[in-house]
């Protein structure tokens, strides 16, 4: 099994420090909202939002890999857990966000005013 019986307390605290720093960076960006990031967008989303999402994924990676100790598991277990989630989430997001945007366009361009 993956239980190496040595204490990896040091790594735990390092990861905690890293997660805290990322959270602090996110909050700082969320409060000052730099115009260069907030006003420019890439694929219908502002650069600031992309930054938040990327930082969140980095945090998720560290939580799963270090705290849930995925890094010590066999690659079959890693793949069996991570790949279905990534695939299905991307699929779901693609469908729902495209559809949401489509409905927005329909509301916007229709002759009937729906919210007044």
């Amino acid at each position: 099994m993956s239980h190496e019986h040595v204490s990896n307390t040091k790594r735990i605290w390092t990861v905690f420090g890293l997660l805290s720093i990322i959270t602090i960076v996110e909050v700082i960006f969320g409060i000052i909202k730099p115009a260069s990031l907030y006003m420019n967008s890439f694929m219908a989303m502002s650069l600031l939002n992309w930054l938040f999402i990327i930082l969140t994924l980095v945090k998720a990676y560290y939580i799963v890999w270090a705290f849930m100790h995925m890094e010590g598991e066999k690659s079959t277990l890693k793949n069996a857990v991570v790949l279905p989630v990534i695939f299905l989430v991307l699929y779901l997001l693609f469908i729902l966000l495209t559809e949401g945007n489509y409905i927005y366009e329909v509301f916007k361009n229709s002759t009937i005013k729906w919210n007044f």
Partner: protein, 325 residues
């Protein structure tokens, strides 16, 4: 016949259990697959939130105007600090959980006890914080008016600062009693009435010429549209409902779906934290009683640890999509 019979591994009971192709015990593996399905459930919720948000992208509430409270700092607008604090509390309880797992690997019972205890306390503080957050969300701060068409009108002064209904609404000599089942002609009742009627808000607005109306529509500079005084007066004539705070059908922050998703997703997450605390308490007492010491393995702590980290993982995403993005 011999050609078709597999001779390799014939000594091992392949289907009899006991062998671990993924080198993880049955219980741990099942916890992982439970987490996969639960992760997909939360992804479904958050994707549905994204769907509704993209659908109403021009009128969605701005999160940092909604969540501005911080304990003991009344009236100070402190967006995000409180949720950031909650995030820290949950990440920290995740750290103590992983330290408990680590101590379990080394069979150090006392350390496991201490770290499990800290984890439970952290979880309780988190759930308490969430309750406080809900309380503020439900109570509301400024109040708003809903039009016949279902869009929301908020009130601002000349500088664009929000103004609460209580600061300008007049009191008219009118009485509107809440309908309760005991007074209804049939088994009917209604939810509690707002402090002011539409007519009182309209009269108060007329009496304060420096007030303006802010609509839900987001402009190019990512601010809410503020109407001119003339347009404001015109829009207010369409008012049909005074909204204070939030419930599942109306809320003073903007899109109705915003409050629905807030209650549902943070509620579902809070329920996960709550059940995590209960499970942690059970395991904590098992550790105290020495169950795992006798068993020779603290793997049970590891399994609840997986669940607890997962709850933290979900919060990281909820934090991003509700408060940052």
């Amino acid at each position: 016949m011999e050609a078709t019979v597999t001779t390799a591994n014939s000594e091992e009971k392949t289907w009899g259990g006991g062998n671990e192709p993924m080198k993880a015990s049955y219980g741990k593996l099942m916890m992982w697959f439970f987490i996969v399905s639960d992760a997909l459930t939360f992804s479904g919720f958050l994707a549905a939130y994204g769907f509704s948000r993209f659908k109403f992208i021009e009128t969605w509430p701005l999160a940092d105007e909604v969540f501005t409270h911080f304990p003991f700092m009344h009236g100070v607008s402190a967006p995000m600090y409180y949720v950031a604090l909650m995030t820290f509390i949950l990440i920290f309880s995740s750290v103590t959980m992983v330290l408990a797992v680590d101590a379990g690997h080394q069979m150090k019972k006392n350390k496991v006890v201490i770290y499990m205890f800290l984890t439970i306390i952290g979880g309780m503080i988190f759930v308490g914080s969430q309750a406080w957050e809900w309380k503020n969300f439900i109570k509301g701060e400024y109040g708003a008016v809903e039009t016949k068409g279902g869009s929301l009108l908020q009130f601002v002064d000349k500088e664009g600062h929000r103004v609460a209904l209580a600061d300008f609404a007049t009191t008219l000599p009118e009485e509107r009693e809440q309908l309760s089942r005991s007074k209804g002609s049939w088994f009917m009742s209604e939810s509690s009435l707002p402090a002011y009627s539409v007519a009182e808000v309209q009269a108060g607005f007329k009496a304060h010429p420096d007030l303006l109306i802010r609509t839900e529509v987001i402009t190019k500079d990512k601010q809410k549209t503020i109407l001119s005084r003339k347009d404001s007066e015109l829009r207010l004539t369409q008012a049909s409902l005074v909204v204070e705070g939030a419930n599942l059908t109306h809320n003073e922050y903007g899109s109705k779906l915003f409050a629905d998703f807030f209650f549902f997703i943070t509620g579902f997450h809070g329920f996960h934290v709550f059940s995590g605390i209960i499970i942690n308490i059970i395991i904590f007492f098992n550790v105290l009683l020495g169950t795992y010491e006798k068993r020779g393995s603290y793997e049970m702590v590891e399994k609840v640890g997986l669940y607890w980290h997962f709850v933290d993982l979900v919060w990281v995403f909820v934090f991003t999509f509700f408060y940052l993005v």
